[in-house]
Symmetry: C2
Subunit: 451 residues, 2 copies
């Protein structure tokens, strides 16, 4: 047998540069098409997909014997396709490989579903039960190549703006930040918890680095199953000191999101094609910023639904006000500021002109919340008072409070969930599609009900 392994492997995408040359490629069989005297194989590796043709008795027979997901190595000749056979939807669509030898490295078991189609039509539980298989389909892996771009763009924008990346723990001593349920851990005989957010830690780093961000794991033990919540998610968190006003925070949010949309558009055209999705072009249009009470007035005028005394926007309000922003400002994003103080975390700065409302904001986009943030209380005494008002003990916040006791400037920040943003940017119907291995109350990899 020709020893293919002594010849250096060529990545599929690099075959474009090797027309007329002999190469060795290897990867996973995506689909096989046998037509008697000729046979074709779509081969996928980490860089892309390539059509391979068998035109001799031995290669036709070897290709015809292959099944989806077999791992093979193919020795062959890179050829330009005839004009009429060019596949413009495939990055390698102008070439194909004429197989000379096909060797199976790892034979795949029989597929539980068809992996060969352009789309993968699976119900969500099946998609997740066979995650390591479904992810091999280009329309599923595309989501995570785009997610990688989202994270890179987030980091790049922040680094360009003098932020330091920090790494903070997920095991925390107290479960006192907010209303959501928390997971508890047996920690060497003590009780500890999984952090609901990196909030306290990023604030504590403001006097150290002034501007910080972190890509953190966050946990919510909410006992409900929705299409937009996960029990474990990746939180993109930002905190910045010396803000002049909480408008500085919204400016930074806008900058981050604008860059993200452009980055996905520029880097992921192949993935967007596979998903048959377009990415929004935001341009330079500013996102409107309105108070929650103003939003309620607008909604009243538009829908005749009077929610003007409600302490929050409900999902239908959020959709309506995004629609308003699109019609009035040409962007489906709107910052809602000045939520009631009682509805926001204890550390949120009340508006000095109207302390019943906060200098906090949510960015609503394309129907739901994308980002939440606000200016924080940076005065030690005020913060202690707010902790007490909520019925908590300042002693439980000792290390957090140290940061404020020893000199803290005006500061604020915001957070966005990576899976939520991925879902909404791509118009996915369920947040689980945007998590490699989603965790919820019914599943940790396997469904509890199937155990």
């Amino acid at each position: 047998m020709y020893n293919v392994l002594v010849v250096k492997r060529t990545r599929i995408i690099d075959c474009l540069e090797k027309v007329g040359e002999s190469v060795v490629v290897s990867g996973w069989v995506q689909v096989v098409r046998s037509h008697g005297k000729i046979a074709f194989l779509d081969l996928r590796d980490g860089s892309g997909t390539l059509q391979i043709g068998g035109f001799t008795e031995s290669t036709v027979s070897a290709i015809s014997a292959l099944s989806s997901q077999d791992v093979v190595v193919v020795h062959g000749l890179v050829k330009k396709r005839d004009e009429k056979y060019v596949n413009s939807t495939l990055p390698t669509g102008i070439i194909e490989l004429e197989a000379q030898e096909v060797t199976v490295l790892s034979k795949a078991g029989e597929m539980p579903f068809d992996m060969g189609g352009k789309q993968l039509h699976l119900e969500l539980p099946t998609l997740l039960d066979h995650r390591t298989l479904s992810l091999r389909h280009p329309t599923v892996s595309a989501i995570f190549k785009i997610q990688e771009t989202i994270v890179n763009s987030f980091k790049t924008t922040l680094k360009e703006n003098a932020f330091t990346e920090i790494f903070v723990p997920t095991i925390v001593p107290t479960a006192t930040e907010g209303g959501s349920e928390v997971f508890s851990i047996d920690y060497y005989g003590h009780k500890a918890y999984l952090g609901q957010s990196p909030q306290f830690y990023k604030q504590m780093m403001v006097p150290v680095f002034e501007r910080v961000f972190t890509i953190a794991h966050a946990y919510r033990a909410e006992p409900s199953v929705t299409t937009r919540h996960l029990s474990e998610y990746v939180s993109l968190d930002v905190e910045m000191g010396f803000i002049d006003s909480f408008g500085d925070l919204m400016d930074m949010v806008e900058k981050i999101l604008r860059n993200m949309f452009v980055a996905v558009k520029n880097n992921n055209q192949n993935e967007l094609n596979a998903l048959k999705k377009d990415i929004l072009v935001l341009g330079e249009k500013p996102f409107p910023r309105i108070k929650m009470r103003e939003a309620q007035e607008i909604i009243l005028k538009r829908t005749a639904h009077d929610h003007t005394t409600e302490p929050d926007l409900d999902p239908s309000d959020e959709k309506e006000i995004c629609q308003w922003a699109l019609e009035e400002y040409g962007v489906p994003f709107v910052f809602i500021t000045h939520y009631p103080t009682k509805k926001r975390p204890f550390y949120t700065m009340p508006d000095p002109l109207d302390p019943e409302y906060t200098l906090g904001f949510d960015l609503l986009g394309i129907q739901e919340e994308w980002v939440t943030g606000g200016q924080r209380i940076n005065d030690y005494d005020m913060l202690v008072e707010k902790i007490k008002e909520r019925g908590n003990k300042p002693e439980q916040f000792e290390m957090y409070l140290q940061a404020f006791k020893y000199g803290m400037p005006s500061e604020g920040g915001f957070a966005m969930g990576l899976e939520r943003i991925t879902k909404d940017m791509l118009g996915l119907s369920n947040i689980r599609e945007a998590s490699l291995f989603p965790r919820d109350m019914e599943r940790v990899d396997e469904r509890f009900s199937s155990r």
Copy 2:
């Protein structure tokens, strides 16, 4: 009062470009030096430290009234220092700011220890008990600016080599990977665990992306306190498919580490100066690669200690063999390969020529383990057999095994602990110094003993 906030703030490092101009700077008071008719203040912001001089009655009095960590805003004039007053250890050492107005934004409480010295001489428990304060000292924050460079360099090298970044969960269904103790969680009435590593998930992504890396949180509930272990740490994990041999993995480790050392050298000279540390220059010298049994023979010859029948190297062996590498190859790094199969995880590929030993490796560097890795078993049946041999049930690994059932090429990978690498690169004496908020059996932020 002059309203300083209407004038745009200048970052300290940018004052270098503003000689002769009026600026507004703000930050934290590092140290105050009063000399009667003149007074000096070192001010720190996120970009650096600046000497500010008070030469009028009002500014001298304002500066003299300041304490360490007060947050202030200073309006003043940027001046070049006289040649004889240039401070070459400070990036802004050629300039100073002549204060015109000094305003306190946030008054700091009294310091529990002196923050004004060039070095911060604190016992580790004190350093950690006041983490939000100790981190403000340039010699402490420097560690984490370098850590940021280490992570960036890791990512950059991998992206340049066609790896995809993935995000994997920390909550896992089983506690069966290795021998270390695990933390258990109450997960909606089910038992779940904190992952000891992202091992299984990164392997499962090989058939999806071929080459992946992840910056993951990993947890070890080991009931001991050492200078080199944490209960929660950041794991830099890599996995790659289609390797020709496990030498490909070691090549990649070398590339990553070489680039890391260069990146720190190039990006963190100020931080290295603050820490009074030099960074190793590795050059192009290859790291030697020897089998564990060969290492034991070398140790026998050098020390007369006969460990040639031991199943592992002990810490004194590790130091000795690193010393040997330095003397013989000019680098304090050495790959030790072929540890006994019984001592490595079940998924490690045995050497086909000598199955009692594995195609696994550790990179020992400057006295201890930096990286651990190896080629994995990619054959489904062999993997199932190995799981059974260790007394585990294949059903517990169902989703993991799916990845191998449906076509898996030769593959392998490796992992390194971020805090460990930071510690060893900088010669820190305790790994806790390289974690913003270290977790161990005695501490989750606060010491349990002090509760």
